[in-house]
Structure formats: structure tokens, C-alpha cells
């Protein structure tokens, strides 16, 4: 587990590659009780003007924070976490799914000794979570 004394502003966290498949969407729908058909029904998604089934923004958000929890070693260290939902992540009906690349760095050491982490998540080179930040407390 990383300790506060080892961390300075500008530090880069180990990046994360997320592969999101249709099976992940179904599993997340069940776990989160978000059954919006745009996340599992191709016909419905196209009828409402989407290119096809898209990932839950909350799934992308929930997976992306692993870049922080894997680094802290304690998910309870995350005191705050926020994102803006940008462009959707279409998830094709194949084994590869969609690839989301997540990176993060220590943006700032705050006055109370906690750390602000800036997170980026990109699909096909374009940001899918805007202004994503977490605040963590380290031992």
C-alpha cells in the first residue's frame, strides 16, 4: 500500500486498459439495477439515435476509478470521486468489445494532506470522462 510520504504532485499512476464487452454491460445492469435498454438492446439504441448499444456511463466511471484503488491498495481511501459524462462508449457485439485507456496522475497535494488525482479515460483516442478527479487520503 502506497504511503503519503512517498507521493508528490506530478507522480504518474500505473495506467489501466479496460476492455468492456456486452457481457460486462449485462453484468453491470444486474448489479446496479440500471436496466435502461440502450445498454443491452441494439434495436432500441438505434431507434433513439445511438450508433448501437453503449456502455453505462456509471460502468465506465466505476471501472476507471480502479486506476486509483489499485494504486492506493485501499478503495476506502477514496474520499471523493467525480466525472462528467462526455461522449458515449459504443460496445460492439463481439469478443473484443470496446477498449478504454485510463491514466491518472497526482494533480495536487491539498492543505489537509489529502491528494487530488486527475484521471483521463479515452476511447479511440477521445476523452469519455471529462474533468474526472478523485481525492484520496493515504496512510
Amino acid at each position: 500500500m502506497i504511503r503519503a510520504a512517498e507521493v508528490t504532485a506530478g507522480d504518474v499512476l500505473p495506467p489501466l486498459s479496460l476492455r468492456i464487452t456486452r457481457a460486462d454491460l449485462v453484468r453491470y445492469a444486474g448489479a446496479s439495477l440500471d436496466f435502461n435498454p440502450i445498454h443491452w438492446n441494439e434495436r432500441f439504441a438505434q431507434e433513439v439515435g445511438l450508433p448501437g448499444v453503449i456502455a453505462h456511463g456509471m460502468l465506465t466511471m466505476g471501472m476507471a476509478v480502479r486506476v486509483v484503488t489499485a494504486w492506493t491498495g485501499d478503495p476506502g481511501a477514496v474520499l471523493e470521486y467525480g466525472v462528467r459524462f462526455g461522449r458515449p462508449v459504443p460496445v460492439p457485439d463481439n469478443a473484443e468489445g470496446a477498449l478504454v485507456e485510463v491514466s491518472a496522475k497526482v494533480a495536487k497535494v491539498l492543505d489537509d494532506g489529502t491528494f487530488k488525482i486527475a484521471i483521463t479515460a479515452a476511447f479511440e483516442g477521445k476523452s469519455v470522462l471529462g474533468g474526472a478527479t478523485a481525492r484520496v487520503r493515504l496512510p
Binding site: 446496479s32 476509478v65 467525480g82
Partner: protein, 153 residues
């Protein structure tokens, strides 16, 4: 149609308690790919200083989203929920959510705006124990796409 501005500052009555279970935490951790035993094994969680398994950072959404239905479905507010998308989401954890928590949610309307033809509602869900201990503050904006322009057309 522009939404009724008098809803700004409104607070809905607290939800019935949501009882957080070890199994739901495990399911949610599986779904977002959080590998830690701290979400699955009470002994591992206790060794890390928690009373029971803790929820992943975004778990609160399943409690806050359900509670926010009182607002989304409120016919007096008139939000067209078939056009609602999630604009942003923030969680502030006053402490981690743990298995065994019984959480009541109070939903507040913090702001109502119209931008670029969309109605935007800023909602704050306060999750607290039944005895009033603050656990998580979940803020979200709900964007009803195109509903503000339709009236002008």
C-alpha cells in the same frame, strides 16, 4: 417546456432504508472489476480496519439513483424522463459504505437550468444511517435533451 423554477431548494421526504448486503457489494465489485478481498471477505475488511466489507467508490449510485426517482417521476416537476441522460456524477464519502448499513436517502433539488435547449436539474442525494450519521453525498446532473427547445419551436 422550461421546468418549474420553484422546485429549486426542494427537499423530498427520506426514502425507506436501503440495507447494504455483503452479497450486493460482491456483485457490484465483480461488475466493475474491483478485485479486492476487502469487498468480499469480512475478515480481510476487519484486518484493514473496517467493521465489515466495504463498498467500491461508485456503489452509492444504486441507492441514490433509486431514491432520485421521486424527483425524476414527479409529475409536478414534469421532467421528461424518457429524454433524461446523466450529465455528471460526484460522490463525497464521509466514510466508506459497509455491509450492514441501513441507509436512508434525502433528495434535494440544488439547481434547475436551461442550456442549449436542454433542461438541466442538479440533484443531491444525502445518504445517512437511520440514526443520522452522514455517509455519502451523491451529486448528479440530469439532462433532459431538447426539452427546452421544443416549446420554442
Amino acid at each position: 417546456m422550461a421546468l418549474d423554477q420553484s422546485f429549486i431548494g426542494r427537499t423530498y421526504p427520506p426514502s425507506p432504508p436501503y440495507e447494504v448486503s455483503r452479497e450486493k457489494i460482491r456483485e457490484f465489485a465483480d461488475a466493475v472489476g474491483e478485485p479486492g478481498e476487502i469487498h468480499r471477505d469480512p475478515e480481510a475488511a476487519k484486518a484493514a480496519g473496517y467493521v465489515d466489507v466495504i463498498a467500491p467508490p461508485t456503489f452509492a449510485i444504486l441507492i441514490s439513483m433509486k431514491a432520485n426517482e421521486v424527483l425524476v417521476m414527479d409529475p409536478e416537476l414534469g421532467l421528461d424522463y424518457t429524454r433524461v441522460v446523466h450529465g455528471d456524477q460526484t460522490f463525497v464519502h464521509h466514510r466508506p459504505i459497509v455491509a450492514g448499513d441501513r441507509l436512508v436517502v434525502t433528495t434535494h433539488v440544488d439547481a434547475i437550468n436551461s442550456r442549449m435547449g436542454n433542461d438541466i436539474v442538479s440533484v443531491r442525494a444525502e445518504l445517512a444511517t437511520e440514526s443520522g450519521e452522514q455517509v455519502t453525498t451523491a451529486r448528479s446532473t440530469l439532462v433532459a435533451r431538447g426539452t427546452a427547445t421544443e416549446e420554442q419551436a
